[in-house]
């Protein structure tokens, strides 16, 4: 499955970037805009890159798809589903306009993250425009590739601060034959965390987990036989549950009128002493808190724990959306940014000041 790629849009983007760089301007890269909320607000010229779309190559037997960044995520998902394949990291859409480029740049994975891997684990190659308006290719279209530094995967979650993603090659996985959800009662978050981490020492076919309001939920994925066997041994109550509602944050817990905090930390870390409604995903590694809390205190309390406290959505401006980095690490980030984008034209300040 390959399409003739219309290069004129790429040339147009290149010219745009060069013009802005020459004129001392700055650019906000916009795909579908569905994840624009994520990160700091930017004052720069918005450039819509969503017209740069099209499937460059897809051969299901290779387990790899190569896409231009403007491809609609929903369209790509139905194309894959037609071949009984999918993205293993279960990306959220957060809106019908969501694009592949935005998915990679934001780097937000869904409920499957802890059990199948994150976006960077599946990205194989990236074609991008750097701050000089040069087209660069890193990685490739094959699963194993160790030639050159793996800059393609570094693009995942870089929020457009390193360049404009033009094309991306992503590994895909088969859609599991069957899925089922089991429901368990675990009154406290701590009980859930111990239980779900304990399950990890056995090869259960778990593909998602959730805890909220005293209920633990597990999604199992695999063959019919495998699921029957695992369900009978794990116990719990078999229920119908729309995991898409969790992925898209449509559950009641994710009240759009309340600030939302995302804390990621080593999965077996004890329950956090934060007095707000909590929802736990990713086998304990992802903990959402709904409501106004003191972000600075949360960050201080998790110093040295390998955690990130992200003021994900709806917090006061000025709090800093992303967890601050230690000074030497921030310097390294800035020098990496400037190696790709010396004039600092792309998404200025999207992650941290100067980044």
């Amino acid at each position: 499955m390959a399409e003739i790629v219309d290069l004129s849009i790429e040339d147009e983007l290149k010219a745009q970037v060069r013009a802005v760089a020459a004129g001392g301007g700055q650019i906000e890269i916009i795909g579908g805009g569905s994840k624009r909320f994520y990160g700091e607000t930017i004052e720069a010229l918005p450039i819509d890159v969503s017209a740069h779309s099209g499937v460059v190559d897809y051969d299901p037997a290779e387990l790899v798809i190569t896409l231009r960044a403007g491809c609609g995520l929903a369209d790509v998902q139905s194309l894959l589903a037609g071949q009984r394949q999918m993205f293993g990291f279960e990306p959220p859409l957060f809106g019908a306009e969501s694009t592949i480029g935005g998915m990679v740049a934001a780097g937000i994975a869904g409920p499957r993250r802890a059990f199948a891997g994150g976006i960077r684990d599946f990205v194989l190659g990236v074609k991008m425009l750097d701050g000089r308006g040069q087209v660069l290719n890193f990685g490739g279209r094959v699963i194993k590739n160790v030639a050159g530094f793996d800059l393609a995967r570094v693009m995942v979650g870089s929020q457009g601060t390193l360049g404009v993603i033009l094309e991306v090659s992503i590994r895909v996985v088969p859609i599991p034959e069957a899925e089922t959800t089991l429901d368990f009662e675990h009154k406290s978050a701590g009980e859930h965390i111990r239980w779900i981490n304990g399950l990890g020492s056995h090869p259960w076919p778990i593909s998602a987990s959730q805890w909220a309001a005293g209920q633990s939920r597990l999604r199992l994925s695999g063959s019919e036989q495998g699921l029957r066997e695992a369900s009978s041994q794990l116990g719990g109550e078999q229920i119908d549950y729309a995991w898409d509602d969790l992925r898209e944050q449509r559950l009641e817990f994710f009240d759009p009128d309340q600030p939302l905090t995302r804390i990621t930390l080593p999965p077996a870390h004890a329950d956090l002493p934060i007095d707000l409604p909590q929802l736990i995903e990713w086998g304990g590694a992802l903990r959402w808190f709904s409501g106004a809390g003191n972000i600075a205190d949360m960050r201080a309390g998790l110093e040295g724990a390998g955690a990130s406290v992200c003021a994900y959505r709806g917090h006061d401006a000025g709090v800093g959306v992303f967890h601050p980095l230690p000074e030497p690490m921030l310097r390294l980030h800035r020098s990496l940014k400037s190696s790709f984008d010396p004039a600092g034209i792309f998404n200025p300040g999207k992650i941290y000041p100067g980044l």
Binding site: A61, E62, N145, V146, G148, A152, E229, A268, F322
Partner: protein, 487 residues
């Protein structure tokens, strides 16, 4: 450097290292002059064997101050010359830092020093029902620090990933002796994800001094089926058909006739020596799942034209089936005075075309080639049989290897799937990457190591090197990359 210069330098390191941790005697230095790619040899000024992180930091501070090149080294099993010493620098061996520091069952991780052997990790956690998944062929000997530097693979990559996918955190000593950490135990951290940058950076961005690896539960059941084919194409198509069924095998390996013969001669695994190709396919999971999938795979193989399928009856036979594949390199080593292992990766659909190309190149150069293939992930290992004692044969072999890698690039693949660039594939890097791309690699390196003291001369070719390579490889009057400036 003169002998007195060497002695003076050794004395500086002995100020903070135990005397026996500084090797400066010619006879002892010789043991470090090459890694697994023995065609390249160089003697370093000194070899240093620190015992802890503080000593590594002190070494780096002094090397930084003296602008001394530093080549870090694990077990020295690299097949690309990644640990080849620098004549004007030191080798920093991490062999003495070989302790398992922590095993955390609840978090399913182990914290280890870089010199710990790959297999030793799995052995240490087996009682707990856990293992470390990546299994490069050298896993008995190779160290985890080296695995991180090379992003090592193995036969189970398709299902369980490369080293990158199985590392949770790294502690790294930077070129200036400071320490930084990359901790992804949380699965998502704010800021750039530098793990993919460090893993596979071939010792050029820092010295890995502590590694936190992910441990997986041992699958309850693993079974192997072998498909025997009278053509490479049918075997290749059968791999695609298995994946088309939605099955991701734990491992799927292909061998061609010369590789089958060599392996059978060596380990007597019962391989069919008349076959053009065999496929060895392993499935793992629960009893029921594996049973259902193995039946399906047998059907697919038969439908794909296998003249025979063999199911390993028990664990002993499963290991026997694997023994031939795992011993393929030494087996080829027995039938030829020397062999040279190539590490290209190609889209699987190009297998037949690439193997046909390899065959005609093999005839052109008059050098036999045996092929083993990580068929699931497209990683091809042609083994060129040669005799280094014949005048000019090594050079001819290297040229054939280079032509094979360029063939892989031509088919949309890459010059190295798991062995790394090292010193070996610098020239081919000039073909795979454009000048602005190579400049970006150099720029990234300088973010970590502005003085360029870490493993200089490896992995990323200089502009001059590429000009030289391209000058030597003009085919049919056409210069590759005509847009580049020439010297």
């Amino acid at each position: 450097m003169s002998e007195t210069g060497r002695e003076k330098l050794a004395a500086r390191f002995r100020e903070f290292l135990p005397a026996e941790s500084v090797i400066d005697q010619q006879t002892s230095l010789r043991a470090y002059e090459c890694d697994g790619l023995s065609a390249y040899r160089e003697q370093p000024l000194l070899v240093l064997l620190p015992e802890n992180i503080a000593q590594v930091q002190q070494i780096m501070r002094l090397c930084h101050e003296q602008r001394l090149p530093v080549v870090s080294r694990g077990a020295g099993t690299s097949l690309s010359g990644g640990a080849l010493p620098h004549a004007g620098g030191v080798v920093l061996s991490l062999a003495k830092m070989n302790r398992i520091l922590k095993i955390d069952q609840l978090s399913r991780l182990a914290v280890v020093e870089p010199g710990v052997r790959n297999l030793a990790i799995s052995e240490a956690v087996r009682d707990r029902g856990l293992y470390y998944a990546p299994d490069p062929s050298s896993q008995i000997a190779c160290s985890i620090g080296g695995n991180v530097a090379e992003n090592a693979g193995g036969v189970h990559c398709l299902k369980y990933g490369l080293t990158l996918h199985n590392i949770l955190a790294l502690k790294v000593v930077a070129a200036d002796g400071s320490i930084f950490e990359i901790d992804q135990r949380a699965l998502q951290r704010d800021g750039y994800d530098l793990m993919p940058l460090l893993v596979g950076s071939e010792g050029m961005l820092g010295i890995v001094v502590e590694v936190t690896v992910k441990l997986l539960p041992i699958p309850r059941c693993a079974r192997v089926v072998m498909g025997v084919f009278d053509s490479i194409e049918k075997a290749g198509d059968s791999v695609a058909a298995i994946i088309g069924e939605g099955i991701i095998p734990a491992g799927i390996e292909m061998m061609d006739n010369p590789a089958i013969r060599a392996a059978e001669d060596f380990v007597h695994a019962g391989y069919p020596v008349e076959a053009e190709a065999i496929l060895i396919c392993e499935l793992d999971g629960t009893e029921e799942e594996v049973q259902a999938q193995i039946t399906l795979v047998e059907q697919v193989l038969t439908r794909g034209g296998a003249v025979e399928t063999r199911l390993a009856r028990d664990e002993a036979e499963r290991l026997l089936f694997w023994s031939g594949r795992k011993a393929a390199f030494p087996a080829v080593g027995r039938i030829s005075p020397d062999y040279y292992c190539i590490d290209g990766t190609i889209p699987r659909k190009s297998l037949a075309a690439v193997l046909a190309g390899v065959r005609s190149l093999s005839e052109e150069y008059g050098l036999p080639v045996a092929n083993v293939f990580h068929a699931g992930d497209g990683n091809l290992h042609p083994l060129i049989l040669y005799d280094a004692n014949n005048e000019g044969e090594l050079e001819k072999t290297e040229e054939l290897g280079s032509r094979i890698l360029q063939l892989c690039i031509h088919h949309g693949g890459t010059i190295t799937g798991e062995h790394g660039v090292g010193v070996e594939k610098l020239g081919e890097m000039c073909v795979q990457f454009s000048e602005p791309e190579r400049n970006q690699f150099h720029a990234v390196r300088e973010c970590f190591d502005p003085l360029k003291i870490l493993n200089p001369g490896k992995a990323i070719p200089t502009l001059a090197r590429c000009a030289e390579f391209n000058a030597m490889h003009v085919h049919d009057g056409e210069v590759p990359f005509p847009e580049l400036d020439r010297f």
